[in-house]
Symmetry: C2
Subunit: 266 residues, 2 copies
């Protein structure tokens, strides 16, 4: 946890008075992703697993399709930079320049959402199913692993899980970054993700759903609430969206057929 947190002097005020104390605060650092020497984006994130972050981001943005597209990765934590070189780098660079012009700023979602091509190409066709009690168990494991959150209250967690438990787990000050980190690790380790569920501590907006769709993930589970646009996308894309997963309770917003509320008869 040493890299992700920092101890600071604070003034703690309560109903009875005030006291100077030392307290743990989560770290935040700007990290720039260079793709084939091109300054692609600067993210504000937790300074850990920057290679995973870069690969997950590129993958979520549709700029790489898998491990086979990556030639090299060099992460410099001190300078806050990650250099990714891809196979066939020059052509990609031209595509990005065109793309950047359309989707600059924080509007990464809309230009894709409206595209029929996006929806058709990313339909989750996996027959993968899960039992409600397996989801409850995954959420319990997920919560127990959120160490930095328990220390600082300042991060989001994300995980990829199979019915047997959590496969990849990460934390970051940004809910998007935490998801990109687990997706990046999954890509780099060459794990198939169409039989995994994505778990997030954060709210599920449309851009989170798009990340799941690009990774071919059939089930998205959140402790928190979804938006109506995320639900609509989930329905269109064949993804099962589960919100407010707390203990044995959960709301299923789309494609309920993937979740069985009771264990199958033996």
């Amino acid at each position: 946890m040493k890299d992700e947190t920092r101890r600071l002097n604070i003034l703690r005020i309560s109903g009875t008075g005030a006291a100077k104390e030392r307290d743990l605060v989560v770290r935040e650092t700007p990290v720039t992703i260079f793709l084939n020497d091109f300054d692609l984006v600067t993210l504000l994130c937790s300074p850990k697993d920057l290679g995973y972050l870069a690969v997950g981001f590129l993958s979520s943005e549709g700029l790489i399709n898998g491990k086979e597209d990556i030639k090299s990765i060099f992460a410099d934590k001190k300078d806050g930079a990650v250099w990714v070189e891809t196979v066939g780098g020059k052509k990609l660079r031209e595509n990005i320049l065109a793309k950047r012009f359309i989707t600059t700023g924080c509007g990464k979602g809309p230009s894709f959402i409206d595209s029929a091509k996006f929806r058709k190409g990313l339909k989750a066709d996996s027959g993968f199913k899960m039992q409600a009690n397996q989801i409850a168990r995954s959420m319990k494991e997920f919560q127990s692993r959120s160490l930095t959150y328990r220390e600082t209250g300042g991060v989001h967690s994300a995980g990829l899980a199979s019915p047997d438990g959590i496969v990849y787990f990460n934390e970051d000050i940004g809910r998007h970054n935490a998801i990109d980190k687990v997706l990046g690790e999954c890509v780099l380790k060459g794990t198939k993700s169409d039989n995994l569920v994505m778990i997030t501590s954060g709210r599920v907006s449309s851009d989170i759903l798009i990340k799941a769709a690009r990774a071919r993930i059939p089930i998205v589970i959140s402790k928190s609430a979804p938006t109506d646009l995320a639900v609509r996308l989930a329905r269109d894309l064949g993804i099962t969206l589960v919100g407010f997963a707390r203990g044995s309770r959960m709301n299923v917003y789309s494609n309920e057929w993937r979740i069985s509320a009771k264990p199958p008869a033996k």
Copy 2:
């Protein structure tokens, strides 16, 4: 609340079984801000107070300095677009094109953070102070006004408050948007903000601090955690940063002199 929420069919699973129900979900919509007919950015947001959102965003990004810079605003909720025309529009447009190239993507912070000019120009020099019990009272009022959150769990709240109570309040699916909406309303109504406190339900990362700094707000209060970079910026910029403000308890991370823990003697 009608515009901000939508009722959907869901499957509610609990320990004892599953039932089909109708449930409220928060709405999310892409909104594009056009500045002098230039497609500046697309934000994913709650479809309410789009004019405030646009003006707050432009103001937070340093693209306008105040109400006097705005010639006209036209918000089209149906098409998800806001057109803002400024005084001296053409020159601004050239500046943006230069700027966009540097700070594209979600990296709105870093290019400013490292700039000595930014820090020097935005130092909060207001002598404004507040008592801890006034902060506790503001937070109580703040919580009681978060209607959409209580209905859906899916939004962040932001407010601007004086020692007497909340002056501006808004909610949005994005914590940045909620803050931009209250800042935009403040700009459009011509209210001085250097004697107001900013309240947010969300975590305080460096980009939130920059929004406060640009609006000359001397105190930032959050129910949640700050990051170390936000604390460092707050210290450099002369802003008082209060986190974990819950009931009569709160942590003061910087410039404690603005907060008195006990009411002054009479």
